[in-house]
Amino acid sequence: MTTAPPSITSSRPPADQVGAIAWLRKNLFNSWFNSLLTVILGLLLVRSLYGFLSWATTTAKWAVIPANLPLFFVGRYPVAQYWRIWVIISLLAVLSGLSWGILSRNMAKLFDRNILIAFGIAAAIAVLAPTPVPFRILLVGVLGLVLASSWMGRIVGRRMPQLGQWLSLGWGLSLLVVWWLIAGGIGLPGVKTNDWGGLLLTMFMSVSSILLCFPLGILLALGRQSSLPALRWISITFIEVIRGVPLITLLFVGAYMVPLFLPPGIRFNQLLLAVISLTLFSAAYLAENVRGGLQSVPRGQTEAANALGLNSVLATILIVLPQALKVSIPTIVGQFISLVQDTTLVGLLGAFEMLGISRSVLANPAFIGRYAEVYLFIGAIYWILCYAMSLGSRRLEKQLNTTH
């Protein structure tokens, strides 16, 4: 019964086409110009790496980082209330673990090699972090929480597939809880916005501006495409004026002009004004990104929706927008990334977000001149944040991709 497979006699590739030397020859030394380039770049690289390493191990004084770690992460948030931050982190860990488990319930393996490596690195960092021992234990605990809840989410998600629809509700509710935990209020001692700082404030401003600017940007994009002239011209004027001026002027409008616009005696919170400025600014950019997506949806889609009896509002919400948003995911996430980076400008107006707090750390006589160490550290945090967002966008794009 068994047929012998046709014997394919494959000869081994010639020795000079495989192996390290062949790779080197193919990728680094394939012409005299490339060889020269490789040598020059290699020398420069070795030189600067050597310079950096010798600086990092001898001249640099890294003590500034562990000594100010709480400042970089939560600013002047009262120490007695740190437990609230830990509760928030655990809540988010459980939620993201659950979402991950439920959304990938049909995958063969929950933890593939790359994810396990990432967790390993994160655990190593958590164990070696220069913080008091209880914090390290908490950090490892949070990692464990993510793993455990993703496993749970997978099991529960397989039993009740309809659970996926409740995830967004969970996230929405968690926002309220997080807000309550940060700011205090009902049953908790309040913490003034002036005491929020560091990464906490950066994240707060980024997340709230992203959440607010998303619907506003979509409305503006629809307004710009609208057949109603008044709406169209208002949207165009708003978008073009905002896109024509730097963000810092808008922040100045919020800080200096808005108080003049309000009735005497009413003063807005500075943080609120900054978030509004950030929101309006990125909404104008987002509107242009969404408009690109809207233009890519063929007219036939609207006409088909109308033919099925949907009115223009429903046709836009149910048919056109989902397709338009899917197309513009990369540019929208790009806009969110620059929004995260733009929160640094609020520091120029005196807020203690991560870059602002680093300025006050550097003004401390004990740490004067330690610019490179501090900027490397917070630069790494920003980089991780932004890079994670762009990775997430690529994954989302892949998942939603329905073309063949």
Binding site: L28, P246, M257, L260, F261, Y371, Y375, I378
Partner: protein, 389 residues
């Protein structure tokens, strides 16, 4: 609730004609109410402070110093002159920034197609690091960590290419500005124009008459040699030196603030331009490369003659928004103390308290700059688009 028959009139709230007008009227009304509320409050607030909305303060003496100026400025010059002087500073930064960032971006964009592994990886690291960290942080790094780090403790640091960095600024080699140097510059310009026309003539002759183009080629090469000699020896290059007094002499001095702003803006925008250039080149279909190869063109010539001109059509529109971003981001000069228009307006705002006037003025300035960039880029865009028959 009777089912509507064809003879029945549609209620007006379902009639599209009424709804369209009503929606617009409501939106406009809301806007008018909001604006009315704001401007009413503003005039009341200004009245309380005993002020009026006008721009007469621009004629008063400014009374503050501007760190770097190209055109003459004194402490008691009027405000409007302070704005002009600092606007020139902004334009100086933006203009040089455009050139630098274009060079960096195009080189980095093309480098991502190199078959040299090391170059590709270094390029990737550059783009990913710069795009994923805030510009303001990068400006701080350039200013505080790099330039101030080099010139630590009053020393003068010598960088490759005879660039000297000290607390007083960055000094690069520059022409000594003698009459001979100016003559050389003029000759270089004339030579460049002549070379351009010879090159066009060569292409035309080769295309229309099948000429070898040898004569023109020789002319071009000799022009190039003369140009190179003029460039090397005619310009009177002056290399900065540390004089006996401990000061730096010769060369062109830029302030540390200007240098940091220029480097920060050029490298930041350059990374975005690199991505645009990469996407533009990728958008040219592979068949174009293969066709060019089939015609016997070398890879470099295929890139220059076939692929890049087509990529330009995709690149230019996005490039325009990057240039606008660079112009707008130049307002971050405020953070490291380069006296650009934004820094001056902040000082004026604090001194006069005229927030509304100053902010409107600065918005008008940036809107104008953005408009000019977009008009120029649109003109440029028209020249590279397909000329279809």
């Amino acid at each position: 609730m009777t089912p509507s028959s064809s003879g029945e009139k549609i209620p007006f709230w379902r009639d599209d004609r009424y709804v369209r007008i009503a929606v617009q009227a409501i939106v406009v009304l809301i806007l008018i109410v909001i604006f009315g509320f704001f401007s009413g409050n503003m005039s009341r607030n200004l009245q309380q402070q005993g002020r009026q909305f006008n721009f007469s303060f621009l004629l008063q003496g400014a009374g503050f110093n501007i760190g770097e100026t190209i055109i003459p400025y004194e402490t008691n010059s009027p405000y409007y002159w302070a704005f002009v002087v600092s606007l020139v500073n902004t334009l100086r930064l933006i203009f040089v920034g455009f050139i630098a960032t274009t060079v960096i971006g195009v080189v980095a964009g093309i480098a991502s197609f190199s078959n040299n592994w090391l170059l590709r990886k270094l390029n990737l690291i550059y783009v990913e690091v710069v795009r994923n960290t805030p510009l303001l942080l990068q400006l701080y790094v350039w200013y505080f960590a790099i330039f101030f780090g080099f010139s630590d403790k009053g020393n003068i640091a010598q960088l490759p290419g005879s660039v000297l960095v000290s607390k007083k600024g960055i000094v690069i080699p520059w022409s000594n500005g003698s009459p001979i140097a100016w003559v050389s510059v003029a000759m270089l310009l004339i030579g460049a124009i002549a070379a351009f026309f010879i090159w066009r003539r060569r292409i035309k002759l080769m295309e229309e008459q099948g000429a070898s183009g040898q004569r023109e080629f020789i002319a071009l090469v000799s022009l190039g040699v003369v140009g190179l000699l003029l460039f090397l020896f005619g310009l009177g290059w002056e290399f900065p030196k540390i004089a006996a007094s401990g000061n730096v002499e010769g060369g062109l001095r830029m302030s540390l603030e200007y240098g940091s702003m220029l480097a920060g803006l050029a490298f930041y925008t350059g990374a975005f331009i690199a991505e645009i250039v990469r996407a533009g080149i990728q958008s040219v279909s592979k068949g174009q490369w293969e066709a060019a190869k089939a015609l016997g063109l070398q890879p470099a010539s295929s890139m220059r003659l076939v692929v890049f001109p087509q990529a330009m059509r995709v690149i230019i529109p996005s490039l325009s928004s990057q240039y606008m971003n660079l112009a707008k981001n130049s307002s971050l000069a405020l953070a490291i103390g380069y006296p650009d228009i934004f820094a001056t307006s902040q000082t004026s705002l604090n001194q006069t308290g005229r927030a509304v006037e100053v902010i409107l003025l600065i918005m008008a300035v940036y809107l104008t700059i953005s408009l000019v960039i977009s008009v120029i880029m649109n003109l440029l865009n028209q020249t590279v688009q397909f000329r279809e028959r």
